[in-house]
Amino acid sequence: MPKPIQMPDLGGGPVRLSIWYAEPGERVLEGERLVEVLTDRATFEIVAPATGTLTEKYAFPNDPLQPGQLLGLILEDTLLS
């Protein structure tokens, strides 16, 4: 199963995706910053939940985001070998 990149609950208020730091097909490391999201109180960086390859992006710059929303998928290294 690919690892989902999920939007955390940031405590209400509007949230918007700012930028992705990786493109589909790129290898990412667990803990590496992956997505930047903006709120009116802080900027947050969502980190990669696993080491592997970013395979899908489901949200894009300027998209409004909801808690729990699926932002993308990572195919873990262990599943590739």
Binding site: P8, D9, L10, G13, R16, D40, R41, P64
Partner: protein
């Protein structure tokens, strides 16, 4: 089909670089979220739209907000709803204690909405919550209280439960009180801190201010002198962040290095602990503020 973005509600501007936080990995925050929902508990984390919520909840900690989620005061900085307050829930102390137990908290922070409608301002309910948490968990308890309109008997009620830390936030400098804190009174808040320390010197007293509301450095330093003169032990300083566009706008974003300089200045006043930074809130890592100094008394 993707729904259209709500442009009017979406954040339009980029904040300074230093107001950036990494989000924790894993889903630990959902554990906290589910537990609080199950036990029907309010937190200031949610109600004040705290930017540290995801981080704190991932660490399985939260700041509990008792006495409902409707406040009787219209403060210009705060996003807690105001209006007709709710009835006190008599089982709230036990539910709170259960949450603290299941979160395995060693340091429990309890705050409340302001309840000027109640004869004791909710002091007895505070007392019951402190005792319930202590009995169930043995944890240290920190209270962050309203000013109880300066009612000494209400304060005595809370003090009688001997919380380890008694926090009351001054929030800002006196010139900005009317705009920021509405019906609060600077001297009344100072007197509260002094009174708690006079009544029980073993209780650690604590206060916090938000920076970036338009205060000057001189005004801030005057407040710090007043706070220390009131015997206050711990000081927190954080960046004010407007909860919504309807609240007081941020006058200035204070850079981290300026927070460091102000903290260095503040330490010269003799506080036991000064914690300052853009994301510092009075309850943020509250356990760590107390731990290194638990056995000392700067007022001795």
């Amino acid at each position: 089909m993707r729904s259209l973005p709500l442009l009017a509600e979406a954040p339009q501007r980029r904040l300074p670089d230093w107001l950036k936080k990494p989000l924790p990995r894993g889903n630990e925050d959902f554990f906290t979220h589910r537990l609080l929902a199950e036990l029907r508990l309010e937190t200031v984390c949610v109600n004040a739209r705290c930017p540290n919520q995801a981080e704190c909840w991932s660490r399985r900690t939260a700041t509990f907000m008792i006495l409902g989620n409707v406040c009787t005061r219209p403060c210009g900085f705060c996003s807690v709803p105001r209006g007709e307050p709710l009835e006190i829930e008599n089982d709230e102390p036990e539910r709170l204690a259960e949450a603290a137990y299941r979160l395995r908290l060693k340091h429990v922070v309890i705050t409340s909405v302001t309840r000027d409608d109640l004869p004791d301002g909710g002091a007895e309910h505070f007392r019951r919550c402190i005792l319930a948490v202590r009995q169930r968990t043995g944890a240290a308890v920190e209270v962050l209280t309203p000013d109880f309109l300066g009612d000494r008997s209400a304060l005595d009620t809370v003090i009688s439960a001997r919380p380890e830390v008694f926090n009351h936030n001054l929030e800002t400098v006196p010139r900005l009180y009317r705009r920021v804190r509405g019906r609060a009174d600077y001297q009344r808040s100072l007197d509260l801190l002094a009174y708690v320390k006079q009544q029980d010197r073993t209780i650690i007293t604590k206060t916090g201010l938000m920076l970036g509301l338009g205060e000057t450095l001189d005004e801030l330093l005057d407040v710090l002198a007043d706070v220390r003169a009131a015997g206050c032990d711990i000081l927190t300083l954080g960046q004010y962040l407007a909860p919504t566009l309807k609240h007081i706008p941020v006058a200035r974003y204070v850079p981290p290095e300026e927070f460091d300089r102000i903290a260095a200045n503040a330490r010269r006043f003799g506080f036991l602990q000064v914690v300052a930074g853009p994301f510092v809130r009075s309850s943020y890592h509250a356990d760590e503020m107390v731990r290194p100094h638990a056995q000392t008394d700067p007022n001795a």
